[in-house]
């Protein structure tokens, strides 16, 4: 429902001045809206894999409380590739940590496959931005990829098969005996992706995974993600601060406001499924969508001061 509003807004007038009536739809916190939404969700329950409901996170410290995330609600359908984009400091990482069960929300809940997330769920894998610190330097590439499988008590030959497949999928079939630190940054992030893919998760969370690699590698890795997503049919939630990247990668872009965070807009990306760094980025529609997301993020930054 949000997706439709979003795309119509863009289709209408580039999103420069959206009708004010859109706001309550995205910021739905009123009890009535919540109830109505719940009824509608029931029909789609089978379709929904991840459901974030009224998520709020407040960090308490000696210097007072900081509200990083105010009230976030959105759903992710099975097999969807959604990008989460927002200005820096908009609580993207906090949100991802709550979804992945690494951090408990202050209020609200996260449901995965209808079950409430209280700790890291079994069928979820996370790819972190800091690839160098996420891979274990005392293990070879293969040992890193196989570790979660070993921990899940998979038999040896099964582990080997999954690791081989995953390493082939990220185009690193011959690096398995190397140590991560012997590889370039982009290759290390490929290993981290292979580890996540080999784990055969239902959902893959990625926290700004390409923020620390160079532009060329980044483009390659973006195509790799689309490719893996197509092949495995996995649900992907991709967090980024890069507007281009979010539009290029996603079927859907969820735009967050500045801290304290709410969903600013939920936008469907109606670009052709077959994407290509040159042609896709050259499409007028791409430019239009990118412009819209840019406007929204600028608006989020502007409004950051007024909303307390």
């Amino acid at each position: 429902m949000q997706a439709e509003t979003g795309s119509s807004a863009v289709g209408g007038h580039g999103g420069a001045d959206r009708p004010a009536t859109d706001r309550p739809a995205t910021d739905r916190s009123a009890a009535g809206a919540e109830g109505a939404a719940k009824d509608r969700d029931k029909d789609r329950d089978k379709d929904v894999l991840l459901s974030v409901r009224g998520l709020q996170k407040i960090y308490s410290s000696e210097h007072g409380d900081v509200e990083a995330v105010r009230n976030l609600t959105f759903d992710l359908r099975r097999g969807e590739l959604a990008c989460l984009v927002g200005p820096s400091g908009s609580g993207k990482t906090t949100l991802l940590k709550c979804i992945s069960g690494l951090m408990a929300p202050t209020s609200g809940e996260v449901l995965l496959g209808g079950r409430r997330v209280t700790g890291p769920p079994k069928d979820m894998a996370v790819v972190f931005q800091e690839y160098g610190r996420s891979l274990f330097p005392w293990m070879t590439v293969r040992e890193n990829v196989e570790l979660p499988l070993k921990n899940a008590k998979l038999p040896r030959n099964e582990r080997k098969r999954l690791a081989d497949e995953a390493l082939a999928a990220v185009d690193l079939p011959h690096a398995d005996k190397k140590y991560p630190w012997q590889l370039s940054g982009g290759m290390q992030q490929r290993v981290a992706i292979a580890r996540a893919v080999a784990y055969q998760p239902k959902i893959l969370l990625m926290d700004e995974p390409f923020a620390a690699v160079d532009a060329q590698t980044r483009a390659d890795l973006e195509d790799l993600i689309r490719d893996v997503w197509h092949r495995m049919g996995v649900t992907v939630l991709f967090v980024t601060h890069d507007i281009d990247e979010s539009v290029y990668l996603g079927e859907r872009v969820i735009i967050l406001s500045s801290s304290p965070t709410v969903v600013q807009e939920d936008l469907r990306i109606d670009l052709p499924d077959e994407r290509d760094q040159l042609t896709t980025r050259g499409l007028p529609r791409f430019t239009e969508l990118r412009g819209h997301v840019y406007e929204e993020i600028q608006r989020a930054k502007r409004e950051a001061g007024t909303r307390v």
């Binding site: 079994k122 972190f128 996420s134 979660p148 921990n151 630190w181 012997q182």
Partner: protein
């Protein structure tokens, strides 16, 4: 050619020093400085024989026993204390104090508490060398990279598996640094405990030589202690190079970058 050059670099200075020593004994006869030849024959006479089994081996045995015990104790306790935050806060000041006590002062204390026997000498070594292992392990566990910890958590790697695959390897470099310190403290304590309270062992023998002004014998004893230190450090380096090969490689890459 390269080999010859390397050999020259490796042996040049030691050979030069020995020549200087020899030259010095030729021109002047200092009571405290034996000739190289005399030194070598004394060394062989004194240590190749009964003394090796009666004094050297038991000393080394106690040293190794004490070191193994302190490493086991330090690592296990360090892993536990390092993993439990309140326990760490509770114990850290007390442990820091124990580490700060110069270990040799424990010798008279333990002579009182335990008496003069082998057991006491091993306990002295353990009580002296356990602290660097323990505190370094705690520090190593504490400073495991949070991203690695979250990675492990997100893949459901917890409990025993987390220790084996994450905590112990991550704390490895710190642990090894602690063990290295423990080795030299252990050796010091082996000698001290024997100088103080013993009628056998290396420390005792060397002091006997000194008291009876058996100068070449005394020097040969010092050389034996030196050799034990060198062998210990060589073995440790070998082990460390193997265990921490990944760490060396990582550091090299980081330094080059």
């Amino acid at each position: 050619m390269r080999l010859v050059k390397n050999l020259g670099y490796a042996l040049g200075l030691p050979v030069l020093l020995i020549l200087l020593w020899w030259g010095y004994t030729l021109v002047s006869s200092n009571f405290y400085v034996p000739e190289p030849g005399e030194f070598v024959t004394t060394f062989a006479d004194v240590w190749f024989g009964e003394r090796f089994f009666d004094d050297v081996l038991p000393s080394i045995g106690r040293l190794l026993a004490g070191l193994v015990l302190s490493i086991l104790l330090g690592v296990v306790a360090g892993l536990v204390i390092g993993s439990v935050r309140w326990l760490r806060s509770l114990l850290e000041p007390v442990l820091e104090f124990f580490r700060a006590i110069p270990p040799p002062v424990l010798v008279p204390v333990l002579m009182l508490l335990i008496g003069v026997n082998d057991q006491m000498k091993v306990v002295v070594i353990v009580l002296g060398s356990v602290w660097p292992v323990l505190l370094n392990t705690i520090e190593g566990v504490r400073s495991v990279d949070p991203v690695m910890t979250e990675t492990a958590r997100s893949y459901g790697i917890d409990g025993w598996s987390r220790f084996v695959h994450l905590v112990i390897p991550a704390a490895g470099p710190q642990m090894m640094a602690g063990i290295r310190q423990a080795l030299s403290i252990g050796l010091i304590l082996m000698v001290i405990s024997e100088m103080f309270a013993s009628s056998s062992g290396l420390g005792f023998t060397i002091v006997q030589f000194q008291r009876s002004f058996a100068i070449p014998e005394m020097w040969s004893g010092i050389a034996v202690l030196g050799l034990i230190g060198v062998v210990l450090s060589f073995v440790f380096q070998r082990v460390e190079r193997k265990v921490l090969a990944w760490y060396r490689g990582l550091k090299e890459v980081e330094n080059a970058g």
